[in-house]
């Protein structure tokens, strides 16, 4: 798959069919990849596809100028489709290099399971449903479902629906999707008072780095409401109440656009379980509107149109 990707990307750049390629290359830390955004055909030799391609590359699309080839797992393809629906990118400006994805390894889960941090591990390898972790020369085996990201366990689209070139064999979704991560299930058990207290604790840690917003392909506003000063919707001080308002409004803004890629939760430096909010919203959108974002590029975006029969009495 990697070889094919490099060939295709190189050819596209050399034949001037694209101006940019966005993919992944090896990162500077163990078990890490990093986005590779380049115009240079020689750089395509560095492109990789492996179990650690965590980022959702679609978040870069709205800032690119020209024609772009983008490496897309299923989740990226959904974000791309959602951006097309919202007229944020044009389909004809994209070459989508589809990657059928078996799920991405969540290093934080492995850290918890083996009691070591990622840089203390010798090796992580995956063979089908088995993931082997080598620590201090000893090998420990896990089933993939124990070490993949929560959002990967809930993945409805491992193989992109929308692509120009598919780089591997199509993969079907797992027959047993686990939509809830640990946190969501636990939160649902709580009373609303307990849940409120739980979010107070979680959001007290927020430092307002806005990484959750900035990695999010669905957060494409040129000016975010948190940056508005007249009126000021939310104070920039990282008080838990303001942090809560920020998260709630962000969540509402991405309703019908969030594809449950899980990036907001992954990048949070202070471990706030943000997917508990976004996944809940995703499920609510599905329940109320029978709408799954990023599945159909010809569908109208959920929040910018309405059907007669949806109207409440007030509007009828």
């Amino acid at each position: 798959m990697e070889q094919k990707l490099r060939q295709e990307a190189k050819a596209l750049l050399e034949q001037k069919k694209i101006d940019w390629i966005i993919g992944f290359e090896a990162g500077s830390l163990k078990f890490t990849t990093t986005p590779l955004i380049t115009k240079d055909a020689a750089d395509t030799e560095r492109l990789v596809i492996n179990p650690f391609i965590t980022n959702n590359l679609a978040s870069f699309l709205t800032e690119m100028k020209g024609r772009v080839a983008i490496v897309a797992k299923g989740c990226e393809s959904r974000s791309i489709v959602s951006l097309i629906q919202d007229n944020k990118v044009a389909r004809e400006d994209l070459v989508i290099l589809g990657v059928p994805c078996p799920g991405i390894i969540d290093l934080a889960k492995i850290e918890r399971l083996v009691g070591k941090e990622r840089d203390e591990l010798d090796d992580i390898s995956r063979d089908g449903d088995k993931v082997s972790v080598k620590v201090n020369g000893k090998k420990k085996d896990f089933t993939a479902s124990d070490v993949l990201f929560d959002h990967c366990l809930a993945c409805e689209l491992p193989t992109p629906q929308e692509y120009d070139i598919l780089l591997g064999e199509e993969r079907k979704p797992s027959p047993e999707l686990k939509v809830s991560g640990q946190n969501i299930a636990a939160l649902k058990e709580l009373t609303s008072t307990e849940r409120w207290a739980s979010w107070e604790k979680e959001l007290s840690r927020c430092i307002r780095c806005y990484a959750c917003r900035n990695v999010c392909p669905a957060c494409f506003c040129q000016r975010c409401f948190v940056e508005e000063t007249e009126p000021q919707w939310v104070m920039p001080m990282p008080r838990w109440q303001d942090n809560l308002i920020f998260q709630i409004i962000r969540n509402i803004h991405v309703a019908g656009r969030c594809t449950d890629c899980g990036e907001c939760e992954r990048v949070c430096p202070v471990n706030i379980p943000l997917r508990s909010l976004t996944r809940e919203m995703y499920d609510i959108v599905d329940e109320l509107f029978k709408f799954k974002s990023g599945m159909d590029k010809d569908a109208l975006p959920l929040m910018v149109h309405y059907e007669q029969e949806e109207a409440e009495d007030l509007f009828r």
Partner: protein, 344 residues
Amino acid sequence: MSKKVNKKDIAQLLKEWSQQFNVLAPSRASGVAEMTEWDGKDTSFLEWYRNTVVPPKASFLPPMEEMFRFRKDEEGYRIEPPSKNGQKQLLFGVRPCDARAMAIVDMTFEDAYKDPYYLEKRRNAVLVGMGCTNPCESCFCTSMGTTPTDSTNVDLMLIDIGDYFLIEEVTAKGKELLAKASGLKEATKSDEAEAEKSKETSYNKVTRKLDTTGIKDRLLESFDDEEFWTKTAAKCISCGICTLLCPTCYCFDINDEMVKGEGARFRNWDSCGFPLYTKMPMENPRSEKWRRVRQKVCHKYEFYPMAFDVIACTGCGRCIRLCPVNWDITQVIESVPQKVKGAK
């Protein structure tokens, strides 16, 4: 001869110090590793602690801080000055990279304008350092003027020698702390030798190296190299992780909040990575991402050396570990072009 303390007696030591100080120690109780008010018993950090995610600067320049309160009446605004905090903090387990970072931040806050909020807390504080035995893959302190066991910027330094910590008395403050402490033992010659060995082992575990020779000049010459900076900034997502959680970044924003005629002025962490940081009524000199990335790099490796003769980076590695896209400052610094003098 130095003193030593059994690791089992750390809780006792912290209890004694708690009588005089607000003791802060590494904790994950909040959900993230940070220096937190010690709970009176937990020393589990001795097992897991490599470094905190939130740097100890948060104890002197908190993420948000009330500067003063104000009230509006018929005659105008009345300002209530902040109550003197007077709190004496003892930070236990500070890593040498972060201690050096505090010394670097001091340079700004005690420069032309003396920042009372920061300096009061800082001058009242005691730093008890703890040498690293297990540096991270992202650490590069040995390239940045310090080492995993450097005692330069702390009051007391603990060096791991197995069941004990050897304690180095660095400052008079530190000496005083130790003089009153019970449960300490005299270190032997072999303890001292063990400490030296431990330091060397730790030093050799820092494998990431960064050559900063001539970096100030290279950055100066590359300032207008838009192509280089655009490429360097391409994958940056303009979040605030690498700045807000950098132990030497100190930028803050000031905000007033008033409800029904009463309010307060706050300051809170801010980041040059945000477009809003330089937004002015008519223009924004750093609206493009590459200009913001350039600012961040140059502030640490060019402007700070120009102003204070020291690079404002201590190699703690947080920006590398925590970056959502693995933007790596060591790779960036290494890739700054060496321009030929006089060439265009």
